[in-house]
Symmetry: C2
Subunit: 161 residues, 2 copies
DNA sequence: TCTGTTTTGTTATGTTATAACATACCTTCC
DNA sequence: GGAAGGTATGTTATAACATAACAAAACAGA
């Protein structure tokens, strides 16, 4: 997983994500209904975390205006099937580029441009489980959200380190 | 840092935390005013994350009823000086047992009893920074919140692993 | 004591999330 | 096809979390 460049063929990202979602839902016997698919598309409109109420507005612009529970239910479904991740530190959601693969949601967030990417480092998972185990704690789920500067924004800021 | 036992001398925790806070504020030339100290004490009433509105109610019970901004300002102060941590995944706050020591807020949360503890593993910090650097990303701040079972709750559940 | 700064009070409102119940829609079995 | 039961969506209301904006008070240093 590379950090998404400022300029890239984003329609390819959306397309790939939707395809992967279809496949994953088929595999799980889960129903990717209209709203759920639309919400997933809207989440993928950028690589930035999107809030539920922003999605609500987007839905309105598509002529499918809805109330909050509709969006939250779609988000719950997408979360439950690993198609999106919740970004707790921003009260937002981002699309998962590789649903199905077990991974715990390690997210990089650029403080400058707001773009997000997944880190997905198994060594990190292991280190956390190990470190927790030393305190007698057994891990079931982890939230890792790392803020900093993405490659593009570092270059712009003249950070060459 | 051990995970706090279900039964322990909690007044000692509160006392130690308040003392450490006083010292840290003196060191920094920051003013630990009445409300700020009281809010800190209330955050320390348990080892569980507390929400701002719960603090508000507690303040009311102490005869110091206040409006939300008062509590949020106190929390902002305590956060700014490292006396508490924000628990993003729970919209809550917990006291920091060792303010002053540089550390990035690695938090263990028991899904059963709700208790929280700090992990504070420097190797974890390093692994994250390293792994992010491989994607060209430079880290400034990290949120790590790990959910699972604490030693006490594991024992109760018969988990001997 | 005056002055500028910091802190707190107060009112209003913005933002995020869910409870509770009604309706529609699919599926399967007769 | 039609009834039954589950799943999904619509709708209304409200809970829970957070901040903007301005007024008043408390404090620190000259």
């Amino acid at each position: 997983m590379a950090f998404p460049a400022a300029l890239h063929d984003h329609s390819a990202c959306i397309h790939a994500a939707l395809d992967a979602a279809e496949a994953e839902c088929r595999r799980r016997g889960a129903r990717l209904t209209d709203i759920r698919r639309i919400v997933l598309e809207l989440v993928w409109e950028s690589h930035r975390p999107v809030g539920a109420y922003a999605l609500l507005e987007s839905l309105g612009r598509l002529g499918r205006s809805a109330a909050p529970p509709t969006v939250y239910r779609a988000l719950d479904f997408l979360l439950a099937h690993g198609l999106i991740h919740r970004v707790a530190s921003r009260n937002g959601f981002i699309g998962c580029p590789h649903p199905g693969h077990a991974h715990g949601g390690q997210i990089l967030l650029c403080a400058q441009c707001g773009m997000a990417a997944e880190l997905d480092d198994p060594a990190l998972d292991r280190e956390i489980a190990l470190s927790a185990a030393r305190l007698g704690f057994s891990v079931s789920h982890q939230t890792i959200e790392v803020e900093g500067l993405c490659p593009t924004c570092r270059a712009q800021a003249g950070d060459t380190a």
